[in-house]
């Protein structure tokens, strides 16, 4: 794979902290990855590891005043988003980078109709001045497979099901025809059957528009279904990145390994699912060495002293673990 070809978004050493009364929470602490046209990158990890904060940093919508991006670069087609002014950012949001939020129940404003909220998104971005806005809003609904769009336009959010609302959120997110779509656990709040439909819908949109998708999730089943590549995040950092197949077949970071072991599989009955012992370190009080050290089965002295650098472990596959150092004895 040519590493420079088709790169839409490149994130370099991103750091975003939350300044709370208990101290500085280093939610995103040196995250780097690239995202190419038409590809889906899964960002996986436990609750509280900084996945959502990473996503929000890319559109510069961290919770104010606590959240702040302190370092790094977010290069969208070569332009650094972090160097832009707030009004320049407004032109980026929705039109070039967009996001689907986790909870469809609260993502729509309860006091406005669906139509109003879609029209608002369309009105911001004059993609096509020819047809009337209303017709385009209806078409946007039709594209996300919402039946009877004429009537739905006049409905209020509470009159729709969760799955339907999430489709509307999707329609709003892609209304401006963005190059990059961040999907933050878009199906977590949905029923299982509706989940699959929704994922298929996202795939369809992606196939049509060639947008690059950052898919944030904690569900490896969804990763296998959706993603070309995976980045595993732990305690504010990416610990392993690689092509989905390669990473599934041979995880090279003990955390990824442990995560995969805790996922139930259809083939072969496992008597008991192993779970990872212990808790991730608190993000406001991080150890100097590897953050997984306390829970790691292979922990060595060095792990507690020094944070391991990210090392290549295969084609387009890299991990941050001392065990992958060329000199170290391999498993």
């Amino acid at each position: 794979m040519d590493s420079a070809a088709g790169v839409v978004l490149e994130v370099r050493d991103l750091r975003a902290y939350l300044y709370t009364r208990w101290g500085v929470v280093r939610a995103v602490d040196g995250v780097s990855f690239v995202l190419r046209e038409g590809e889906t990158l899964g960002l996986v990890g436990e609750s509280g590891c900084g996945k959502t904060m990473t996503g929000l940093s890319l559109v510069r919508l961290l919770p104010e005043p606590a959240g702040r991006i302190v370092d790094g670069q977010v290069l969208l087609e070569g332009e650094d988003l972090l160097a832009k002014s707030e009004s320049e950012m407004r032109a980026v949001r929705g039109r070039r980078v967009s996001m689907i939020l986790q909870d469809p129940q609260t993502s729509l404003n309860p006091v406005f109709t669906i139509g109003d909220q879609i029209l608002e998104a369309l009105g911001q971005h004059h993609v096509d001045g020819e047809r009337s806005l209303a017709a385009r809003a209806q078409e946007a609904l039709r594209r996300v497979k919402v039946g009877a769009p004429e009537q739905r336009m006049r409905a209020y959010p509470h009159q729709m099901s969760g799955g339907m609302k999430q489709r509307v959120v999707g329609a709003i997110a892609v209304a401006g025809e963005p190059r990059v779509l961040i999907a933050d656990e878009p199906t977590t709040a949905l029923d299982v059957t509706i989940q699959l439909q929704y994922l298929a819908l996202l795939k369809e949109i992606q196939a049509r528009t060639r947008l690059a998708m950052l898919f944030i999730t904690h569900d490896f089943g969804i990763v296998a279904r959706m993603c070309d590549r995976v980045a595993v995040m732990y305690a504010g950092r990416i610990v392993e990145t690689g092509p989905t197949r390669a990473l599934f077949r041979a995880p090279r970071h003990p955390y990824t390994e442990a995560l995969m072991a805790s996922v139930p599989r259809l083939e072969g009955h496992v008597a008991r699912l192993p779970s990872i012992e212990g808790q991730p370190p608190p993000l406001h009080d991080l150890p100097p060495g590897c953050r997984f050290a306390d829970r790691c089965a292979y922990v060595a002295d060095r792990c507690r002293r020094e944070y391991p650098p990210t090392m290549p472990v295969g084609p387009a596959h890299e991990a941050a673990c001392w065990r992958n150092e060329p000199s170290a004895p391999s498993r």
């Binding site: 929000l56 559109v59 919508l61 919770p63 005043p65 707030e86 009004s87 407004r90 032109a91 980026v92 949001r93 929705g94 039109r95 967009s98 996001m99 939020l101 986790q102 909870d103 609260t106 993502s107 729509l108 404003n109 309860p110 006091v111 406005f112 608002e120 998104a121 911001q124 971005h125 209020y156 509470h158 009159q159 959120v169 709003i172 997110a173 209304a175 401006g176």
Partner: protein, 305 residues
């Protein structure tokens, strides 16, 4: 919707009934209600005559029946001080209070909403701290004292505004401020906290993701949601104003029902006081009922529930 209205109506009527019972009972707890009605220099014959006239020589359940039947006909007894039916006195005074209350309410809202929004938007900054301090101070200031201080400063020292009684527009200034400020502090903090809550919600993020500016999101998306709790509390605010009017009208010698309440208290005019209380209760409950029904029409979630 109809069932909702009927249920709320039934609750209000029940509440009124309980209140009437309390009023009836309290008049008898301290002894014979006739003693509350008689002048100090009344003779034994006067007393016996009054007992018969009011039916107080009858058994207690008959008295209750007489009282409730009278109340239903609008007869709540005769004011001792004014020597005419208490309800009549009340309705003579009511319009004067109704001239004051809307002004105070509108004034309070006009001040509290922008201040609350500013405090929320610039939270943690000087604006927020100053408005927070003003709110804390506002809650700690007794409104009867505020009224007196305002009179001292603006009427006596500066001679700018009239200090009491009704009259031209200038007479409304000080009473409106006194009555309205009573509400501002609480309202302002409510607007601030509910706006902050709304500003943290997901739909705000989605609105920002559409490329809308922070200002548009706050005024268009957040404020309407943030004002829902304020509208819900309209009934409570109204009740607070009715209460606050007692003190304010007393300070400014405003001839409304608040001042009438005070007169009933200091002249120990029990029939007048019981009429004032029951009638005010009807007004407060009526307003609350109206607000609930209106609210059900305004909020799409309640409307279609």
């Amino acid at each position: 919707m109809q069932r909702f209205v009927l249920r709320r109506l039934a609750q209000s009527v029940l509440l009124l009934f309980v209140l009437a019972l309390i009023v009836f009972a309290l008049a008898r707890v301290s002894g014979n209600p006739a003693d509350l009605l008689l002048r100090e220099d009344a003779t034994q014959e006067d007393r016996a005559h009054l007992l018969r006239a009011l039916g107080l020589d009858r058994p207690i359940h008959e008295q209750l029946y007489l009282f409730l039947a009278g109340a239903l006909r609008g007869d709540l007894g005769e004011s001792i001080r004014y020597r005419k039916p208490a309800t009549e006195v009340f309705f003579e005074r009511l319009p004067n209070t109704l001239r004051l209350l809307p002004l105070a309410m509108v004034g309070a809202l006009a001040l509290a909403i922008p201040l609350g929004v500013l405090a929320a938007v610039y939270r943690g900054t000087l604006v927020d701290r100053v408005s927070g301090a003003v709110a804390v101070l506002g809650i700690a200031t007794p409104s009867f004292w505020l009224g007196i201080v305002l009179i001292y400063v603006f009427s006596i020292r500066l001679g700018l505004l009239p200090s009491s009684r009704m009259g031209g527009p200038s007479h409304y200034v000080l009473p409106t401020i006194t009555l309205g400020l009573f509400l501002v502090a609480g309202m302002m903090r409510l607007v601030r906290s509910s706006l902050l809550e709304v500003m943290g919600s997901e739909f705000v993020k989605l609105a920002r993701l559409k490329g809308l500016s922070q200002t548009v999101v706050i005024w268009k998306h957040c404020l309407r949601n943030a004002l829902i709790p304020v509208t819900t509390l309209f009934g409570v605010y109204f009740a607070l104003l009715i209460t606050g009017a007692i003190v304010t009208e007393t300070v400014f010698a405003w001839p409304g029902v608040g001042r009438l309440t005070y007169e009933a208290v200091i002249f120990r005019d029990y029939p007048l006081l019981q009429a004032v209380i029951l009638l005010k209760a009807i007004i407060v409950l009526g307003v609350n009922l109206g607000v609930d029904i209106l609210y059900a029409y305004l909020d799409p979630r309640v409307r279609y529930a």
